[in-house]
Amino acid sequence: MAEEKFVKLSDISGDAVDLNIKVKILSLSSKDMETSKGKTTYHYGLIGDDTGVISYTAWSLPSTVREKDVYEIRRCYSKTYKDKVRVYFDQKTEFKFLTEDMEVKRNYRYYSIKDLNIKDKFVTVEGLVKDERIKEYEKDGEKRKIFQYMLKDQTGTIGVSSFGLQLKPGKAVRLEGARLDEFNGYYRLNISDKTGVEYITLNIGDEPDYVYIKDIKNPVGGIKVNGFVISMGDKAGLITRCRECKKRIDDIRCPDHPDLLPEYDVFAYFTLDDGTDYIQVNAGYDAIKSISGIEESYLKNQSRPPLKREVKDKLENALLHNAIYVKGNVRENTQGLNLRATEIGHIDKNALNEIRKIQEEEFI
């Protein structure tokens, strides 16, 4: 009888049948599905060997199969979907439990923060740990902690939630196998005990690099772009808010706090075009304060309240058809991606030199 041939995961590159593999089950999850024959459950997760890690889907799985165990698996098959290979188990697939352990080579793909994509859920990223916040919660009667941070690299920032493990703010870190998800329109990374955390040396400038609007594909923070403001929203300008709840007031008074006089605020939304694409930008008063020259004293002057037309003119003069840079956070909403500005300024000589340098580097 011919010797059975086992293939390594790194050698599985496309559609193949009757594969024999020796792997460790790294994760095992299940999902219910409605079919014409009724409700059915399938399993999915990650398997690994000493050459790499691959996702699997099990249409059929013996109930004895457990996470972290090692198996010889015979007669499985692979398929390529959206350039990614996946291994499938079905009723023909045989599992043989092995008592040995297996060293698994993790191969989470490395991403710059701006290039993170929710289609790749487990990733490797590097960046500077900033802005620690600690929250306590109770689970099963036990007090636990979530540590929250911002992780910053040269291309952007992203929120990080760590369950149990406290990171060191001010230090650069490499996170291997961090889980990416989306919350409230923003991407976020999650660290668990399976995530590799290694402190490293990184040179990250205070300022993020400029990115082209064409390259903004996902909702991450700390992005810096440049371009011309090609149009401004009709409703941009002077608005009123409730002093108490800060909600925008479209009527004369806040319905929840009708006794309080409203306060004035400024809001702008516009389209920024950098020649590669365009994006909608929202900006509150803090972001537009310095570029518009609208002082707080002007907004708070009760003896001469601000005028809508005056504010609109100031905003248009500062923004419309000017070359500006915008720093901010990209958020996904029902209309797609938009940029919430945290800082806006005109393109000056220094900014122009920086932009030229980035452009020139592409042709070197």
Binding site: K214, F228, I230, T276, Y278, H321, N322, I355, E362
Partner: protein, 272 residues
């Protein structure tokens, strides 16, 4: 083209638009759209450009403007209609010699000989500063260089596809434009456009730098003993005027390159 998205404004030099003699159409009836296709691979029906307003003539309800960028001139024609009075207001605020930005739709006129002229119907016109103008020039040159690279890829490999171009890092827009250009202008010499992109992407001296250049030249002319004006003397004089060493060195280099001065002795300069 994605109908749900706003028609993008193409950043394009006048010399590239003037070379254009092909359009493609999409849709039918009321939805028929005519897009220009330039030899440099730009496809669109809306443009955004900056330049100096060289002429502005009003004739009844029509205003004609000529706007020169560093490569040639755009022709802009505005027809006053009820719905575009804000543009009329924009135009009234700009004057000849102002540096302006224009965004507008393109329309086409073809002569009996087959030559095509592109006119721009402005949607917005506004005066801008020098940095904004330089930013537009620099970015437009960069975008042109990228599109020309994509066209070179196709010419070097006629089997190239949209997918292979995008696989090499070109955007869908760039790949589409390059494919259309390669199809419609198979024998166009793109070297001309490459030279334009290269020449304008070199930083233009600012108004301030031009003044410094004149001042340093005048100083060297006035203070030229035998052997020439010493570098240290020039630095001392202009540092007193608040000019940095870097700006002085850069200006001396520019004067040398322009042939306005030469180094008569080591670190001593004379005018030519």
């Amino acid at each position: 083209m994605n109908d749900k998205r706003r028609e993008p404004a193409r950043w394009i030099f006048s010399s590239e638009l003037r070379e254009c003699n092909n359009t493609i159409t999409e849709g039918e009836g009321d939805y028929k759209r005519e897009y220009f296709v330039t030899p440099g691979g730009s496809v669109g029906r809306r443009v955004l450009f900056c330049g100096k307003l060289m002429a502005k003539n009003e004739e009844g309800d029509m205003t004609k403007m000529t706007v020169a960028d560093p490569t040639a001139a755009f022709y802009v024609t505005y027809f006053s209609k009820e719905f575009n009075q804000d543009v009329k207001n924009d135009i009234s605020k700009v004057n000849v010699n102002d540096e302006i930005i224009v965004m507008g739709r393109t329309s086409y006129y073809r002569t009996e000989e087959g030559k095509m002229y592109v006119n721009i119907n402005p949607e917005s016109v506004r005066k801008i500063d020098e940095e904004s103008s330089n930013y537009w020039i620099s970015r437009t040159a960069f975008l042109l260089q990228r599109r020309l690279l994509a066209i070179r890829e196709i010419r070097n490999n006629p089997e190239a596809t949209m997918e292979s171009l995008m696989g090499r890092g070109f955007t869908e827009d760039e790949a589409t434009g390059a494919m259309e250009s390669a199809k419609l202008y198979p024998s166009y010499d793109i070297q001309r456009l490459e030279e334009i992109a290269l020449s304008v992407s070199v930083a233009r001296p600012s108004g301030e730098a031009m003044k410094l250049k004149d001042d340093i030249l005048a100083f060297i002319q006035k203070n030229t003993p035998i052997g020439g004006a010493a570098y240290d003397e020039i630095v001392r004089e202009f540092k007193n005027r608040g000019v940095s060493n870097e700006d002085i060195d850069e200006t001396l280099n520019v004067l040398g390159l322009d042939g306005e001065i030469f180094e008569a002795e080591k670190r001593k300069f004379r005018t030519t």
